[in-house]
């Protein structure tokens, strides 16, 4: 046991001596969480719009007022001619133009069938769709408020409520995603690189001749990263809750246990990668290509799995991060217990078992 601790002590020396690794280890989660939490958001606030009011009647002014006081839009300029619209878009500042036709007031009063044109800059298609939806909703509200009695008795009143995330906060989606990505990267890449380094330097040879057993070497390599990754995980959760206002509706202990399980899985992937290669560079690229890309694109972290083509949806089932993200969302946002997360947990466990099994088989046929 004393031998084992000498080994672990040495690993910590490696980690703390390498300032760059340390920076990646603890800088990465901070930067990622803040970046994804604040910058990469689908929420819209104070989008710049322009208004072309050809009528200048009571209703058009009231609607304009409603739009601007909603918090979603800010008036950038008032246009006077149709020709100005294209110019305004070309300048790139405004995202949407609201056009009231000349006889808006009288048409509205007379036939209840007035038209408003919304033009949105669809070079950012998601923003454009959201803006148009928000504006339509506000205008619809106004119209409904104008004639509550006159509305047809057969009208269907749709009322929607966004459950679990009423404010549609992007952080709710990104924090679990970033957590999965950072833990997977740090744990898997760091372990595979550090084992490959021992092989490259020739020190693995000396270790294997020493009285240390193979499992002592592996667990000695893994333990420091398990600890550091766990601290990392806690850090991300704390950032999410206190800086990005994520809720913590479920059991914290369960969340931490699941985090540990996911770290263990990531480490076992790292060990498996290191059994395949002797070079630090290959280990690093393998980690990036096998882990980072699929995690970002196929885990549902950025792109919804439901909107992927069928074959990719099938592939997404083997991405560990997918299950971990589901677990984190379940616990933090929905506040569910282990009963609802049993399937995901078991899949992660099975994956960890599979990688450990494959690594051991590899190690048997050739010495570390």
């Amino acid at each position: 046991m004393k031998r084992f601790f000498s080994f672990v002590h040495k690993e910590f020396l490696h980690i703390f001596r390498d300032k760059r690794t340390l920076l990646i280890l603890f800088g990465l989660p901070f930067v990622q969480v803040l970046l994804f939490g604040f910058a990469l958001t689908n929420e819209i606030s104070y989008a710049k719009i322009a208004i072309l009011d050809n009528d200048k009647g009571m209703h058009s002014r009231k609607i304009t007022h409603r739009l601007l006081s909603s918090g979603y839009f800010r008036l950038e300029e008032n246009l006077t001619t149709y020709a100005d619209i294209e110019k305004a878009f070309r300048k790139g500042k405004i995202k949407m133009v609201v056009v009231f036709p000349q006889d808006f007031d009288s048409e509205y009063e007379r036939s209840k069938g007035a038209h408003i044109q919304l033009l949105a800059d669809a070079s950012e298609q998601n923003t454009a769709i959201s803006l148009v939806n928000y504006a339509s909703a506000i205008i619809g509200d106004y119209s409904a408020a104008q004639n509550p009695v006159a509305s047809s008795p057969m009208m269907i009143d749709v009322r929607s409520r966004m459950v679990f995330n009423p404010e549609l906060k992007g952080a709710f989606v990104f924090v679990p995603g970033v957590m999965a990505m950072v833990l997977l990267l740090v744990s898997a890449m760091m372990t595979s690189v550090t084992i490959a380094r021992e092989k490259e330097m020739g020190t693995m040879e000396v270790l294997s001749v020493s009285p240390l057993t193979q499992s002592q070497i592996i667990f000695g390599k893994v333990l420091p990263y398990l600890l550091l990754s766990f601290i990392n995980g806690c850090l991300i959760i704390a950032l999410g809750v206190w800086v990005l206002d994520m809720p913590m509706n479920g059991n914290l202990l369960l969340l931490l246990t699941e985090t540990l399980l996911f770290i263990f899985l990531s480490l076992s992937i790292g060990i498996f990668i290191s059994t395949l290669t002797d070079s630090q560079l290959v280990a690093m690229f393998a980690s990036l290509v096998i882990l980072l890309m699929p995690t970002i694109f196929l885990s549902g972290f950025i792109f919804p799995i439901e909107s992927m083509p069928k074959p990719l949806q099938v592939v997404s089932n083997i991405i560990p991060a997918k299950y971990f993200i589901a677990i984190v969302k379940g616990i933090m946002i929905k506040g569910v217990g282990i009963g609802y997360l049993l399937k995901e947990t078991l899949i992660l466990l099975a994956m960890a078992g599979l990688f450990i099994f494959m690594s051991l088989r590899k190690l048997k046929t050739r010495s570390l």
């Binding site: 031998r3 000498s6 490696h14 020190t203 020493s210 009285p211 010495s367």
Partner: protein, 244 residues
């Protein structure tokens, strides 16, 4: 004389390929035993079996009195090992390297402390004790690596081409260390590519295609083959040609 390494018809097969073919030899306590052979002759495979890293296919071998089939753990505790890459951690200091290897060989803290002082004093490394190994000259690293391989006072130390890439003067200094260790009773089992080093050994064995073709003192081998140097002996045996 006490035999520290004994191999009896030691054989290792990989499929149909026979890497080591019934090699037999015995190394005395305090002897410097040169283990020569061209690349691919089976040296490394033989060494790995003796170090307990590889199970032999047949034959017997004992290292420091322990069996290579059943007592590999005991063997690993009793042997020292140094590879051609010197196997030090470059991002650790001299002191930390000594402490780490002391630790994994199960030395107690006071023993590690006194050994550290002893090594620093002996190699005059006192001033660089707390600098990173990466900044040391190659010759210093080499001698430090050997001292670390000897840290737990093993009865036998295996050196795998320990002088690669080192200049002749530094090599000479290194051999002085080997002689001193041998005179204190440590058995030295060394592979090398340098034929002048083969002359320094008490006895050398030359492996060709998995078999030991010659095994004697350098002087008797030279006489037997009628050549001036060990290089000549090696040329005749390993390459099937003569330099004469």
């Amino acid at each position: 004389m006490e035999k520290v390494v004994i191999a009896d018809k030691l054989t290792k097969k990989f499929g149909n390929f026979i890497a080591t073919n019934e090699i037999t030899f015995a190394v005395d306590k305090g002897e410097i035993f040169g283990f020569l052979g061209a690349n691919g002759a089976g040296k490394t495979t033989a060494m790995r079996m003796l170090c307990g890293l590889l199970k032999p296919s047949s034959g017997d071998a004992k290292v420091a009195g322990f069996d290579v089939y059943t007592q590999t753990e005991k063997i690993k505790e009793r042997i020292g090992y140094m590879s051609q890459k010197f196997s030090l951690y470059e991002d650790l200091t001299v002191r930390e390297n000594i402490k780490f290897y002391g630790g994994i060989y199960g030395l107690r803290l006071p023993a590690i402390k006194s050994k550290t002082e002893y090594i620093l004093e002996k190699l005059s490394l006192g001033e660089v004790a707390d600098t990173l190994v990466a900044s040391l000259p190659l010759g210093w690293k080499q001698r430090l690596a050997f001292s670390i391989a000897m840290l737990h006072e093993p009865p036998v130390v295996f050196l795998d081409e320990p002088t690669g890439g080192v200049d002749p003067i530094t090599r000479r200094q290194f051999w002085d260390m080997l002689y001193e260790a041998a005179s204190n009773g440590t058995t030295i089992f060394i592979t090398t590519h340098y034929m002048d080093e083969a002359e320094y050994c008490n006895r050398v064995s030359i492996m060709v295609d998995g078999r030991i073709q010659a095994l004697d003192t350098p002087r008797r081998l030279r006489e037997q083959y009628g050549v001036e140097s060990m290089d000549g002996v090696f040329q005749i045996l390993a390459r099937g040609t003569s330099t004469k």
